[in-house]
């Protein structure tokens, strides 16, 4: 017994001697904590809210957004491109003072290589589809061409991109991380490990990556923009449970909660004067919705779909998520160009819902199925919808499953009558209204494995969107947005969705971390590390 006790004592001694040092940060460094590991830093591959801001530290695009706006400005490009050929071609002049962190100057050939890489099936880029309008893309992707003919290197600092058809959102596409410029020699050298050994021209460089623990980024001393970045170092700690990260923030180990405030602590934080000062919130450019499968009876009848829109109490659902959202009246979220602030939507009106159902011959009600992702709070939100619909006589059977299973059922024709999008809500890829149409509401997305879970396909709307997307001149923009307003109004009349709410993201930062709310929660880049600083 004595020996055991002695052993324990010795262990305690070791522990006392090795009590962990506080998170080691450089003088002007910050620590952000996430639950999940960063999957990849390959800009052509990584694409989720956690990868993107990390990738953005290491790489740059030709264009970027003016902070806090949806307006594009030049970044690697020296100026906005000259548009020619009726909106079919863009000629970019590059800055001459940009170097990759391996010391080589970035040239027009790198732009060409990058765009070829996105469209190369071997790179397995999830964003390849966005670049399909570049002339010659299908021949290149199919391996039938030696080069991507739509991208021409004019000289070392000039590159011309030609499209097969005008696309008003193409410059937005060039500002996504899929088009972040990569140096060929480093991609080739790193091979399959490129996603872990990124070399770019961005404001930071990756110093170290310890799998399952942390990634350390340090300032790029030769960065071409003055006063960017302000931090010397950014440490991304991964594998941190949100509750533990929250304690770490209060203890001074963590500066920013990557996964936000844990739901269990949300009310406590709100009521604590000191902690409340460290909260920031920004509405995300996304819409959560219930998709209504227009191929499944009785939802083939527009009156039934409209009845659903009247019958669901959206304010009640906001209470379930502690008010972290805004009631959605329409498909586009408020910060998206083309959002119609004068449009009021359906509103909560049980009587109207009942009237529409009896007009459709369903006054006795019917039974149908609602699919939901099984992670909290989504089943609770689905139950709230279930209760609301019971009031008008619609009996709902809930199918609560892993998100991958829900996505599979939802993307299969004539399978899932109703799907609650919670956890899989549509969030902008870039701030252009076409991004809420082509991927999720157009005919081309109403296919097996697509994201058009309503299987809505209206050829007239496709034509309208195509027409709008050909209006590429800046002067045409207001008229273009009007066309999109009309398009989304029509979709709301057809009631293919019940838009529920637009998420408002809340997070907490340490008292020493300084940044505008739209930098700490940037609606476009998620976090603008390059603009944050330390007291």
């Amino acid at each position: 017994m004595k020996r055991v006790a002695l052993g324990l004592l010795a262990l305690a001694g070791i522990a006392a001697l090795t009590v962990a040092p506080r998170a080691q940060t450089a003088e002007k460094g910050m620590v952000i904590a996430y639950k999940d590991d960063i999957a990849t830093l390959d800009p052509q591959v990584g694409y989720d809210w956690q990868n993107w801001p990390a990738i953005k530290m290491v790489f740059d695009a030709l264009l970027d957004y003016k902070p806090g706006t949806t307006d594009l400005e030049p970044r690697i490009a020296a100026a906005m491109p000259t548009v020619g050929d009726g909106g079919r071609s863009y000629t970019f002049k590059l800055r001459s003072d940009i170097k990759f962190s391996n010391g080589r100057t970035l040239t027009a050939a790198d732009v060409k290589y990058t765009l070829e890489r996105v469209l190369d099936p071997k790179a397995k880029s999830p964003g390849a589809g966005f670049f399909a309008d570049i002339a010659g893309s299908s021949a290149w992707s199919a391996g039938k061409a030696k080069e991507l003919t739509g991208v021409k290197v004019i000289n070392s600092s000039t590159v011309k991109v030609t499209l097969s058809q005008p696309n008003a959102a193409f410059l937005n596409v060039l500002a996504t991380n899929f088009a972040f410029i990569v140096p060929k020699e480093e991609v080739v050298k790193a091979g399959a490990d490129w996603g872990r050994k990124p070399v770019g021209s961005g404001p930071f460089t990756l110093q170290s990556w310890t799998s399952g623990q942390e990634l350390v980024f340090v300032k790029n001393p030769n960065y071409f923009l003055k006063n960017v970045p302000k931090l010397d170092q950014v440490t991304i700690k991964v594998g941190q449970d949100p509750s533990v990260a929250y304690l770490g923030l209060q203890r001074g180990d963590v500066d920013l909660l990557g996964d936000g405030i844990p739901p269990a602590n949300f009310l406590q934080v709100q009521s604590d004067a000191k902690l409340k000062a460290q909260i920031v919130s920004t509405p995300l450019v996304n819409t959560t919705y219930v998709s209504i499968n227009t191929q499944v009876k009785p939802f083939t009848d527009v009156r039934v779909r409209q009845a659903l829109n009247f019958a669901i109490n959206k304010s009640k659902i906001l209470k379930i998520i502690n008010g972290r959202g805004l009631v959605a009246t329409q498909i586009l979220p408020p910060k998206m160009p083309g959002y119609d602030s004068s449009y009021q939507g359906y509103g909560y009106d049980v009587e109207q819902a009942k009237k529409l159902l009896s007009a459709a011959g369903l006054s006795k009600g019917f039974t149908t199925t609602l699919y939901t992702n099984s992670t909290d709070p989504n089943p609770r939100i689905a139950q709230s919808i279930q209760q609301d619909l019971a009031v008008v006589g619609i009996k709902i059977e809930l199918k609560s499953q892993a998100s991958s299973t829900v996505i599979d059922a939802a993307g299969t024709p004539k399978t899932a009558p109703l799907v609650w999008s919670g956890g899989m809500a549509w969030t902008q890829d870039y701030p252009d209204p076409s991004d809420f149409y082509w991927p999720i509401l157009s005919c081309r997305s109403a296919v097996q494995g697509g994201w058009n879970w309503s299987f809505a396909c209206d050829k007239n709307l496709d034509a309208l969107a195509s027409k709008a997307d050909q209006m590429t001149a800046p002067a045409q923009r207001p008229a273009r947005l009007e066309l999109y307003k009309k398009l989304y109004k029509t979709l709301m009349d057809q009631a293919v969705w019940v838009p529920l709410f637009n998420e408002v993201r809340y997070t907490m930062h340490s008292a020493r971390l300084i940044g505008a709310p739209t930098d700490l929660i940037d609606p476009i880049h998620n976090i603008a590390f390059e603009r944050l600083s330390i007291k």
């Binding site: 070791i14 522990a15 449970d241 509750s243 533990v244 892993a402 599979d408």
Partner: protein
């Protein structure tokens, strides 16, 4: 020797069956890995192209044969989601898991054995009831409650230990304790009942009558016999901890295999899942083999011919 050979062949067959079953289950999953890799923004054409690149459009047996040939050559493939090879991921995570396992087993033994012995010495006493009550609590406390509770007290209110993470001995204490306390409870109860049984046996009474001291009785006769079932328990715990440390690893941010598995399951990263299952199967087979080998050493009555 013959026995050992038989066990090794049996183990190899088990591993083959495991590879087939897990691979089959991965294919049967009602989720499309290609779409999970591609994410929501990808067009259908892009998803199809990714499916082709991953080789997921090939027939099942062709996929399995390819997987198995690579596996036999030691190539576990690459993660769909993370840009790293499975071998690299497992190797980088294995030390942390092994360390946690060791810490957990040590905690089980260091807390469970003395508690069981103390309880068995005076059955029915306050000591006995208190220890067994605690053991019961230890078994039934969910690990995430215990883990967060320990963190809250020892890393936040009294910040003497680190708030999760990995690196020094201090980092190991709370996770090992969280992992080991449940098992310690089991061990305490098993040791107690084994001890009581042995202490009531005739040969122990004979030994006592011959004048063996009480200490000698307990250590040399009772405890030695009570330890036998422990060997099997530790052996199987190795398997359990391999897959069961998920909660502890998540709460403490411990960069082990459990966390890797959990993340892989959520995004249907099948190669990672397969790799982890294969590794766990190997560990379990090895754990059982070691326990089989340790038995005759501890108990001369057990002998393999």
């Amino acid at each position: 020797m013959r026995f050992l050979l038989g066990r090794v062949v049996q183990g190899a067959l088990v591993l083959l069956a495991v590879s087939f079953l897990t691979f089959g289950l991965g294919v049967l999953l009602p989720a499309d890995p290609a779409r999970m890799v591609a994410g929501p923004s990808a067009s259908v054409a892009t998803v199809n192209s990714i499916r082709r690149e991953l080789g997921l459009d090939k027939p099942f047996f062709e996929q399995y044969t390819l997987y198995l040939t690579k596996l036999l050559r030691g190539d576990l493939g690459r993660s769909y989601k993370q840009s790293a090879s499975i071998a690299e991921l497992l190797i980088s995570r294995l030390p942390a898991t092994l360390l946690l396992m060791l810490g957990g087993v040590l905690c089980e033994l260091m807390l469970g054995l003395p508690a069981g012995v103390i309880a068995a010495l005076r059955p029915g006493s306050l000591w006995d009831r208190a220890t067994m009550g605690l053991a019961f609590l230890g078994i039934s406390l969910p690990q995430f409650v215990l883990g967060l509770g320990l963190l809250y007290v020892f890393a936040f209110i009294y910040p003497i230990l680190p708030l999760g993470g990995y690196g020094t001995a201090a980092h190991l204490i709370l996770p090992a304790l969280t992992l080991g306390i449940g098992g310690a409870g089991w061990y305490a109860r098993v040791v107690r009942s084994e001890m009581l049984e042995v202490l009531g046996q005739d040969y122990v009474r004979t030994a006592a009558a011959k004048g063996v001291s009480r200490g000698g009785l307990i250590v040399r006769h009772a405890l030695k016999n009570a330890l036998l079932p422990m060997i099997a328990m530790v052996g199987s715990d190795i398997g359990v901890f391999m897959g069961g440390a998920v909660v502890v690893e998540s709460v403490f941010g411990w960069p082990g295999i459990g966390k890797l598995t959990w993340d892989a399951i959520r995004v249907v990263d099948i190669p990672v899942i397969l790799g982890v299952v294969q590794l766990s199967a190997v560990m379990i087979v090895l754990g059982n083999l070691l326990a089989d080998l340790a038995y005759p050493l501890a108990d001369p009555r057990v002998r393999y011919d």
